[in-house]
Symmetry: C2
């Protein structure tokens, strides 16, 4: 057991005012997924992008506008999201800090930014 | 996106005052894990038991005393736990409702109760 706050965060370079930490790591887990927490400050977020891995998310605090493919969701605490691998998505903090759990498989990932036409 | 509260809960028969719901299901997920939320009322919990699957957990609300193998942890919001497959563990609510995220692989599971000597 450990408090999430005791785990150092890293800056998410593709985002603004966005940090994350891996709370249960791929090394610690046994079957190939990892539990991570993202923290986005007021005014922060991430531009439209894709990942190679699916996201299973649970909102802890704050509010944000999250686009997934062509749909925009206004999310608040205790909302859940599923973002399939390869689907464009973006985050815009509405009420920060915006914090959420994001579980991903432990396979290689890559962020690809998308020009929003 | 959906609010967790919109997803029906099921009673966890091995527990007391314990319900759970699957927020991102194995069918929805792509790579073999599922995001679930447990809700344990004041006075509730689960006796010492094992599962066939690992647990990656994040505490949302309330407080509980959680035993994992021979160690007892007092857990509160924003604490994380990793419980390996097959390791005996129990939950005793200290301040309810006690709510936590529990991510598991989508492989078959079985709860085995353990006589606590």
């Amino acid at each position: 057991m450990r408090p999430a706050a005791s785990v150092p965060t890293v800056t998410v370079k593709a985002g603004t005012g966005t940090e994350m930490h891996v709370l249960v790591s791929p090394e610690q887990g046994e079957t190939g997924f990892a539990l991570r927490r993202f923290i986005m400050q007021a005014g922060g977020g991430m531009p439209l992008h894709t990942n190679l891995v699916e996201h299973q998310q649970y909102v802890l605090r704050g509010k944000a506008r999250i686009r997934v493919a062509d749909t925009v969701y206004d999310v608040a605490p205790d909302h859940t999201l599923f973002i399939p691998a390869g689907v464009p998505h973006s985050y815009e903090v509405v009420d920060g800090p915006f914090e959420f759990i994001c579980v991903v498989p432990s396979t290689p990932d890559r962020i690809t930014l998308i020009e929003d036409c």
